[in-house]
């Protein structure tokens, strides 16, 4: 009887979007009289940080700091259509719609600035700090605040734009299953290291090293938060969670967090996150959808590590101590 150590690897990809239903999202962007920008959407922030990412995407596209952007989302009276927040599609679909809307608004903003500065709009650039400069002659400039005032009070212009991103619906071919259910793919490879007590069947996840390729990390801190949380969820899925411990029997399902097992702070593995960025051709600034993918590779990596440690395969989730002990017993008997 001993504590045995093992490690396992898994590599995966994950699709962005839900094209099998048609996958649209729209956005509107307009400036206030003081040169702040309002993004109007119907997308939902589930706690993953949709609002912050849309603000950064709009700010980058228009050429202002992120704190000059306000997000108004998920009010069906004001927001244009969004398919919803699921299928790893939020950043990708809504982000593209925001870029398109922000580009249109930026164009109007530059046209008004050009009239004020008496130059061509194509000769202007933004400095990212809230100013519009003449290329090659940065001393000739105007603040976006003043441009907005001019547009609203002097020139009768609306600094606004419309954004639409639509992936047309794909219909699977009946006989071959040829279909295009998604666009870009995110990737991951996880190596998990575990200890298995062959007397109690208990598994301790020592380390998980996760490499994620997500197109672009639009906000690295938020990416880290999502990827660390997802990694925890993968560990939880592999070893702890089930609503039906004796599936397909319906009995014994948990009714609260005392009965529904998940890893607590003491069960956390040492987690390493490495991010690679291969921009996707159709993503906003190259971003792909990492939201779902990040909880998947830990599950088979842990299953493979358990085998490496004690030589039994648990092909049924979750990998509970009971299942490990039964398998060890069967192995010893054979």
């Amino acid at each position: 009887m001993a504590i045995r150590r093992g490690r396992g690897v898994a590599a995966i990809n994950y699709p962005t979007g839900m094209n099998l239903g048609g996958d649209p999202t729209q956005a509107l962007v307009h400036s206030t009289p003081t040169g702040n920008f309002m993004v109007t959407l119907s997308s939902v922030d589930l706690g993953q940080g949709m609002k912050q990412i849309m603000a950064q995407i709009c700010a980058e596209t228009i050429g202002v700091p992120t704190d000059r952007v306000v997000i108004d989302t998920a009010d069906t009276d004001t927001g244009p259509h969004c398919m919803g927040t699921f299928a790893s599609r939020g950043t990708h679909r809504a982000g593209n719609a925001v870029i398109q809307a922000a580009k249109e608004a930026r164009q109007v903003m530059l046209e008004v600035a050009a009239e004020e500065l008496e130059v061509n709009a194509s000769d202007l650039e933004t400095d990212g700090q809230g100013n519009i400069l003449v290329k090659g002659a940065p001393q000739k400039s105007i603040s976006i605040f003043d441009v907005a005032l001019s547009a609203h009070f002097k020139r009768g212009r609306s600094i606004s734009g419309r954004g639409m991103f639509l992936i047309p619906r794909s219909y699977p071919e009946k006989e071959t299953g040829a279909m295009k259910p998604s666009t870009c793919y995110a990737h991951a490879c996880t190596v998990a290291e575990v200890e298995v007590d062959d007397e109690t069947g208990e598994v301790t996840v020592l380390t998980v090293k996760n490499v994620f390729e997500i197109g672009r990390a639009l906000n690295p801190k938020m990416v880290e938060q999502q990827l660390v949380g997802g990694s925890w969820m993968g560990i939880s899925h592999a070893l702890y969670e089930t609503t039906e411990p004796y599936y397909p029997s319906r009995d014994h399902g948990g009714t609260d967090f005392n009965q529904y097992l998940m890893p607590g702070p003491g069960d956390l593995a040492e987690t390493e996150i490495i991010v690679l960025e291969r921009p996707s051709a159709d993503g906003p600034f190259g971003a792909k959808g990492p939201g779902e993918m990040c909880a998947n590779p830990q599950i088979p990596a842990i299953a493979n590590a358990v085998f490496d440690a004690v030589g039994v395969r648990i092909d049924t989730l979750p990998i509970t101590p009971e299942r490990i002990l039964r398998a060890l017993k069967a192995q010893a008997a054979s």
Binding site: V9, A11, I12, N13, P15, V44, L46, G47, Q52, E60, G63, I71, A74, D75, D77, C82, G84, F86, P172, T176, G177, M179, K180, S182, C184, H187, C189, T190, V191, V211, E213, A217, N219, P220, K221, E224, V228, T242, T243, P248, S249, R250, G254, D256, I274, V275, L276, E277, R278, K288, E292, A295, N296, I299, P300, N304, F307, D315, T316, L317
Partner: protein, 455 residues
């Protein structure tokens, strides 16, 4: 977290102003100080509380429903049954023509899973609604139930859902979504080894911090405002419009700040009945799942059974892969027919295999309806595929990581659902994992690239 910028630097534009910056989230101060407003923070004068009477049986005919005692209970304002719902039989994905409509808002004639909503009680207080719900008398004739997917697919199994007529979803391709690529039998005939294995999962809970719910208020102009934590505003609005036979212009949904969803809040369950309650009483209505309801009643991730059969050569090339996937939808479709066919497109995983044969089934049982969850249609498939990869590698005596390099897809490869691979990065992820985990692989694998050129 480390950003490894040395990979793909030639195809990436760095040095942007706002993108790539670790800015603090604009809503986090509100979240961490408890000042953010969630739907349940809205309280309106005269607000009623809605509680459901739920089926104690897995499968039963309803002989009669007697609500008279419940209606007399102090504080009760209205009791709703199937008769009160304008379009009581619905299905969420009818919006994208995935039918038939197969689920009742309130049970009518039958219940098909333990926990199914039968009667809605609206009362002045939560407690009065709960007490009155306990007084509703439903006379059931218990019917045989089926919980196991294989049992459900056998001839003579109890029929779970009459709206389908059989215990599986009927795709245009037949009883399953099929993918056919190359000639799988020729691939197996050519293989040095064949390995067939079964994988199984049980349902899991989304476990959001904030439970599912909504608060509805009549606006006095014949419109209703619904504060909700749905993940999809217009899914909810459009389905509610169908269920209540009410023009969408009468409906106003407000949401957008949600305490966790993970796919559990894509179903349209609480909003239509709460809005109906507000319409019939003229008062605001609050319907929030208790934690017990969230865990027992809300859709879990589907249980899946996946059978993978692979043909592999001694040198490590996988030459044939056959996958049969079964998704346990429970009693009603919700999003499961979509998940099962999303799974079909995902196989055979991120590997280039010349001969692939896939069937995925969406199966009905008398279990809690399952629906969308993070990794929908893919997570359990990845578990099965990647454990299978480990077994295959050991079967032919190769290092599990090197075995994956041999089969990894690269730009330009055609996948089984006949899409060309673009933007691949599996190889680079594995190269970095090899370094980070100190798991060395042969130099030729470290020299590979996902770009086809020069690889």
């Amino acid at each position: 977290m480390e950003l490894r910028k040395n990979y793909f630097a030639d195809v990436r534009k760095d040095g942007l102003h706002e993108i790539g910056q670790p800015r603090p989230r604009l809503d986090s101060p509100g979240h961490v100080t408890g000042r953010t407003t969630y739907f349940a923070d809205r309280n309106f004068p005269g607000m009623l509380h809605l509680k459901m009477v739920r089926s104690p049986h897995h499968h039963a005919r309803i002989r009669s429903i007697d609500t008279s005692e419940a209606e007399k209970h102090p504080g009760v304002v209205k009791v709703l049954t199937a008769r009160d719902v304008p379009h009581n039989v619905y299905t969420i994905l009818i919006l994208i023509q995935i039918g038939p409509e197969d689920e009742t808002v309130l049970a009518d004639g039958k219940v098909r899973w333990k926990g199914e909503a039968v009667v809605a009680v609206l009362a002045e207080t939560e407690r009065a609604a709960q007490e009155a719900a306990a007084k509703v008398k439903v006379d059931y004739e218990v019917l045989p139930a089926v919980f196991d997917m294989e049992e459900a697919l056998k001839p003579g199994a109890p029929l779970v859902n009459e709206y389908h007529g059989q215990n599986y979803y009927l795709y245009d391709s037949g009883e399953c979504r099929k993918v056919r690529f190359g000639d799988v039998e020729a691939g197996f005939a050519q293989a040095d080894h064949i390995l067939e294995q079964s994988y199984q999962s049980s349902p899991i809970e989304h476990a959001p911090t904030e439970t599912t719910g909504c608060v509805v208020t009549p606006e006095g102009n014949d419109r209703f405002t619904c504060y909700t934590n749905t993940q999809a505003m217009f899914f909810t609005l459009d389905n509610t419009s169908i269920i209540l036979q009410m023009p969408g212009s009468k409906l106003h949904f407000v949401g957008g700040t949600v305490g966790g969803g993970f796919g559990g809040k894509v179903d349209v369950i609480v909003e239509p009945i709460a809005i109906l309650g507000a319409k019939l009483t003229g008062r605001p209505v609050c319907f929030i799942y208790s934690r017990e309801e969230e865990m027992q009643i809300s859709s879990p991730r589907a249980a899946e059974k996946i059978v993978v059969k692979d043909g592999v050569m001694k040198d490590g090339r996988i030459v044939a892969r056959k996958v049969t996937g079964y998704t346990d939808a429970g009693a009603y479709s919700r999003h499961s027919p979509y998940g099962a066919q999303k799974g079909a497109a995902h196989y055979p995983g991120p590997y280039t295999i010349p001969n692939v044969w896939i069937d995925t089934y969406c199966v009905y049982t008398n279990r809690t309806p399952s629906s969308a969850m993070r990794g929908f249609g893919v997570t359990i498939g990845d578990f099965a595929l990647e454990v299978q990869m480990d077994k295959l590698a050991r079967l032919i005596g190769l290092d599990p990581l090197e075995f994956r390099f041999i089969n990894a897809y690269r730009d330009g490869d055609t996948k089984a659902h006949r899409q060309p691979t673009e933007g691949a990065a599996l190889i680079e992820c594995m190269q970095e994992a090899s370094r980070a985990a100190n798991w060395p692989v042969a130099e030729k694998y470290m020299a590979m690239s996902s770009y086809r050129k020069g690889a």
